[in-house]
């Protein structure tokens, strides 16, 4: 591995942080890195989700598989997921879900006794384990919103009953989307907008205005005093090329030069609530590191050749 080092020191600047929302800048790295992080967040950060359902009584209108599928999609608080085991690698149990290292058991018992329709929600899922519970979407401020009731699983009429046992396991989004902690993970390249001031000054105020308005998003603005066009929000630019086309239509090509900065990304991360958005990013970095370690460890070994085939030679620097 002799030779030039390509190591870079990426920087992260957090712009906005809430429990389930995070916006940050990632600088001094390239698209491969940013995308790896995005992909890991979607597909490889583990969470806990209901994986096995045993239905005892179901006289509701929805069939068993339907309810099982709905249960699976309920996000469960998964701070513990990183330290848990996959039930397939768990030595302590035979994978039946009764084991503290790899699974959590839930019970649901609901029966409608009144004439009013009973909503069975995620809050009716009972578990003795307080670390893994259905995500609570209620506002901490405590106003009686509709979301406070949790996620509706099924509605029961008088006399209908639902009784089941469910086992939640650790998993990753690659295996099933229910294990994906990410609701939205996306990034954009930071735009670099340069207005050709000289050319801009050749425009009349009217022309400037129509040019500014040609952008579907509010990127440019005109200074009311100096009548100068300036960039008000570069990130609002959606790479739609509208202003460039407009400039060409006005007979002023090169009025503005817009490029994407190859090494700065603006990430938006939204979590399902299973883990905090900030934790999601940290976990993703941790997993990415583990994956790289696995490559590094097997780099010089014979197994590397079997494992990576032709790639092995590349990794040894050949």
């Amino acid at each position: 591995m002799e030779g030039k080092s390509y190591q870079r020191l990426p920087k992260i600047k957090i712009r906005e942080m809430k429990d389930d929302f995070l916006k940050f800048e990632l600088r001094d790295t390239d698209a491969s890195m940013a995308n790896a992080l995005r992909r890991v967040m979607i597909a490889e950060v583990p969470t806990i989700a209901i994986d096995l359902v045993e239905i005892e009584v179901n006289s509701s209108v929805l069939n068993d598989e339907f309810i099982a599928h709905r249960l699976g999609l309920i996000p469960l608080t998964s701070e513990r997921a990183m330290s848990m085991r996959f039930s397939r690698d768990c030595d302590a149990c035979d994978g039946d879900g009764q084991c503290e290292f790899c699974s959590v058991e839930f019970h649901l018992r609901a029966k409608c006794m009144s004439d009013q329709t009973l909503d069975v929600t995620s809050k009716d899922l009972y578990t003795p384990d307080h670390t893994v519970v259905p995500v609570d979407f209620s506002d901490p401020a405590g106003d009686e919103s509709a979301e406070q009731r949790g996620i509706i699983i099924v509605k029961l009429r008088r006399g209908q009953e639902l009784r089941l046992r469910a086992i939640a396991r650790k998993g990753i989004g690659k295996d099933h989307a229910k294990w994906s902690p990410a609701a939205t993970v996306t990034f954009m390249y930071e735009p670099d907008i340069r207005i050709n001031e000289e050319l801009m000054e050749t425009l009349t105020l009217e022309e400037k205005r129509s040019w500014v308005e040609s952008s579907p998003t509010r990127v440019f603005e005109i200074d009311p005093d100096t009548h100068q066009v300036y960039v008000v929000d570069a990130e609002a630019y959606t790479y739609d090329d509208e202003v460039i086309k407009k400039a060409e239509a006005m007979g002023k090509p090169g009025l503005v030069d817009i490029t994407a900065k190859e090494d700065s990304f603006i990430f938006t991360v939204e979590s399902t609530g299973a883990i905090k958005a900030s934790q999601l990013v940290l976990n993703a970095i941790e997993i990415l590191k583990q994956k790289l370690d696995a490559v590094r460890l097997s780099e010089d070994t014979v197994e590397a050749d079997d494992q990576f085939g032709e790639l092995g030679a590349h990794m040894r620097g050949g």
Partner: protein, 447 residues
Amino acid sequence: MDTELNLLVYPQKPLLMTRTIELVGYDKLGAGQNATVAVMSFSGYDMGDAIVMNKASLERGFGRCTVMRSFSTKLQSYEYGIQEKTVRPCSEGSDTKRMQLDMDGLPAPGEIIKPGDIVINKQTPKDTWNAFGNRGVEYKDTPVTFNGLGGEPSVVDKVARFSDFGGICGIKYLMRQTRQPEVGDQFSSRHGQKGVCGAIIQQEDFPFSERGICPDLIINPHAFPSGMTVGSMIELLGAKARVSVGGSPYNGSAFEESSGGADKVEEICKELVKKKFSYSGKEFLYSGITGSCLQAYVFMGPIYYQTLRHMVMDKMHSSYQSKPHQLTRQPTYRSDQDGVRVGENERNCLTAHGASMVIFERLMLSSDVTTIEVCGVCGSLGYYNRRSGKKICSSCQKETDISTQKVPYACKLLIQELQSMNISMKLKLAEEEINDDLLNHVAVNEF
């Protein structure tokens, strides 16, 4: 009980309405889902109207459907009140595992039945002429096995006993299966833009926009010129505007823009711009695989998609050997147990490749090859008399210069059928011209 039912698990209201849809109440009984469609080429698995689907969308319930099929078994009744009956499942023996039944010999709703399992533990009387009625009649086991819906495990949804006007009793049972879309299942928008699912791809590999929108499915742009479905594009724009602006759905009725009956595309596009979308409905996407920008803007938005009932699970079949046709002795191509036919197109394809030996093998050796005796003198068919060990020509009525030939059985049949209509077909045999070089070549190869 309906013989077949296909239910969509999560039906939705269409985002774009037309007047007829309102009239027929299609919005009240949805038959599809609003899928975010990206019109672009992706992975090559979208050729020829195929669509590429997002695995995460499917797992979250897109296109998921419940298939229900009813089956019925009659309980035959005989004279003297003797009848077939259902009995409690056996508690020991080899069949116990295949028999997850209630005490009445019928399955309980909610039970998972695997293919090959017994659904009805039926018994048939051994003799039906016993005048003493049910007493003393011996029964034998004639259990009904379930072959599965498309060979997959299914759930019992409903079980009912019935009797028809003839007094025949029986049991009807409804089997249920919940299916997630798989490669080969068919989908269609409301414009007849149907296509099979060509590939299911992980969400992280799918393109995404900087707003975080990731399509549910990708269709190839080639579908538009061949399908000539302008409505499809109008629907996409209308639905996109509807979903971003909110309010009542746009009216997309055809040919009614001028009379004011439908919303104009122009107006819809203006709404899109208000919500910071491009007026053309195109979006700037990033590749999910590399993270770099896609070179072109992609037309993306919601289109109402329906899951069609043609599913590979029901259609896929293969066979090693099947019962040949009685008359022609050729392999059959009728049921699930039969194989796949090398039809005319396939034969033409093989011909184009010059794969004559493959044609020979498929159409003759693996099909209906038979040996016939041909008379060298008159050219008609002869036969081999096993008792005398002589080959006799039936036309010359004596032992002649007869040679054995391999022909398709259908050919032999044709000769004989023509013969029965007073047309005599003669086979003129000639000594094969053997090329010495070729023979030597073969000989060298063999040793």
